[in-house]
């Protein structure tokens, strides 16, 4: 299996991806692998803007036709923006998980924490386990 996960992103064990925006904020979504497991997404319960989150805290729910699946904050920080498009087009998570299907952005408490996450190769290996 080829590595479908972009090299410029970081990854969590709960299948979120994290993009470093270079201004101490990150964009968060779920991976191709995660959307594949979920199947057709029909509803996303987004976190609230300005919500203060701790790493690994439950911060939303993605509902597919099949089941409800929790979403977790990748790192400590505060939610700065959520993808309102997902309200009317939740399927963006299936069609463009690394792009238009992004879920929220957050301002990190500490940028150094990014190094704690997996890179694309590590995540790929993790998925194969």
């Amino acid at each position: 299996m080829s590595n479908e996960n972009p090299n410029d992103l970081k990854y969590t064990k709960t299948h979120e991806w994290v993009r470093d925006n270079g201004d101490s904020t990150v964009t968060v979504g779920i991976t191709e692998h995660a959307q594949e497991l979920l199947g057709d997404v029909v509803y996303v319960e987004l976190p609230e803007v300005e919500a203060s989150l701790s790493a690994e805290e439950n911060c939303g729910v993605i509902e597919s036709v099949k089941a409800a699946s929790d979403m977790y904050a990748p790192l400590d920080g505060e939610v700065t923006e959520v993808n309102e498009e997902l309200d009317s087009e939740p399927e963006l998570i299936n069609t463009a998980p690394f792009g238009e299907g992004w879920i929220f952005t957050m301002k990190l408490t500490s940028e150094d924490a990014l190094t704690e996450l997996m890179d694309a190769d590590e995540y790929e290996a993790f998925c194969q386990e």
């Binding site: 057709d40 029909v42 509902e63």
Partner: protein
């Protein structure tokens, strides 16, 4: 919806390799390795509502009942009355109840001849059904033959019959064109029934195991797409059809499972298993009923969520997102007096839902 039974190695239907060829994602369902989807559940759902799709339902159990007293036996065994079946091939949906009036299984029975009825029961309930049926068949001298030599494909959707007919001999096609809804017909080694579990027109076709792969290929060639168990569940939910083990079981009476229409009270001297218990319940007035719910707020209804009404609490038995309506729908067991509006508790929040008759979609269209 997937229930794994024990840790035995799952069985495979004769179409197993066809599912793999079609990229079926295989899961364990009632001890069978079956396709949950072949890609997108929602697309498969829409395929059936707008065109034609097919399901491998070979795991279901076909039983042939023979003997002079078969009719009398089934009139005792089932809550619905096979005496209603006057024309050859006519089908009947019924609950098979225990003495307390609880549903052991729901099934379809076809009247083939005075001394020959064919019954189709659920895969997950095979052992207990066989045991129950055999146990009561003895005194009626009815022989029960399990037709594990037959596979079954359900072809469903507005264009399904046309597509099936396209590759059949003219003579067979002619016979099928005249087949009415809810009738079955044996043609050579095949049995065609104009029945289904989706709310669409179509056939459930019983095919000898050794011929089923070839038949599947013909269906593929005529444009019928394979559909997985996932879409089967959302299709039947939209159609308001119960799923055994989820919407009802042995602890639930047909009166509390939207199956009152399947109880034949007349003639009142017909003794059937469960009748006495049902009569007492009917006299008292059933406390619960099975209804449909439509979520008005955003979210997705799921089985076991709590339903709050003005008359007390109930529970969702099955829920999902309806691809046809673009909203979440459910079947729920709630206090009999409740109507119009209710709330459903989802992750601590109370979301508004509308109480409706348990049927949402028929022949591709909303009936809400």
């Amino acid at each position: 919806m997937t229930k794994s039974s024990q840790s035995v190695k799952p069985q495979r239907t004769p179409l197993y390799n066809k599912h793999l060829d079609a990229n079926g994602k295989m899961v364990d369902f009632a001890g069978w390795e079956m396709p949950i989807n072949y890609g997108s559940q929602v697309q498969e759902h829409k395929q059936v509502r707008t065109d034609a799709g097919m399901f491998d339902v070979s795991h279901m159990v076909v039983l042939d009942l023979n003997g002079d007293k078969t009719k009398a036996f089934l009139r005792y065994l089932l809550a619905n009355d096979v005496a209603k079946l006057k024309e050859n091939g006519k089908a009947l949906y019924s609950g098979m109840l225990n003495h307390d009036g609880g549903v052991i299984d729901d099934l379809i029975v076809y009247f083939i001849a005075e001394d020959f009825y064919r019954v189709v029961v659920n895969a997950a309930t095979r052992e207990k059904d066989l045991k129950w049926i055999s146990q009561h068949a003895d005194t009626y001298e009815v022989t029960i033959k399990e037709r594990s030599d037959l596979s079954m494909i359900a072809v469903q959707g507005p264009n399904s019959r046309e597509k099936v007919h396209s590759f059949l001999h003219a003579e067979t096609e002619q016979k099928l064109s005249n087949l009415d809804v809810f009738f079955g017909l044996e043609i050579d080694d095949y049995f065609y029934a104009r029945t289904g579990y989706t709310g669409e027109d179509g056939y459930e076709i019983m095919i000898p195991n050794e011929k089923v792969s070839e038949y599947w290929d013909k269906l593929i060639s005529s444009g019928v797409k394979p559909i997985g168990l996932g879409a089967r569940d959302t299709l039947r939910l939209e159609a308001g059809m119960n799923l055994y083990g989820t919407d009802m079981d042995e602890s639930v009476s047909p009166l509390a499972a939207a199956m009152a229409w399947t109880i034949a009270w007349e003639p009142d001297d017909r003794d059937f298993i469960g009748r006495k218990a049902l009569e007492i319940e009917k006299e008292k007035g059933p406390q619960f009923k099975l209804v449909g719910l439509i979520l008005e707020d955003k979210g997705v209804l799921r089985g076991h969520q709590k339903v709050i009404t003005e008359h007390g609490e109930g529970e969702i038995t099955s829920g999902s997102f309806s691809p046809t309506l673009g909203q979440s729908i459910a079947l729920a067991r709630i206090p009999a007096a409740a109507k119009d509006k209710c709330h459903v508790e989802i992750r601590g929040k109370h979301l508004a839902a509308k109480i409706v008759k348990p049927q949402f979609v028929r022949n591709g269209k909303s009936v809400i």
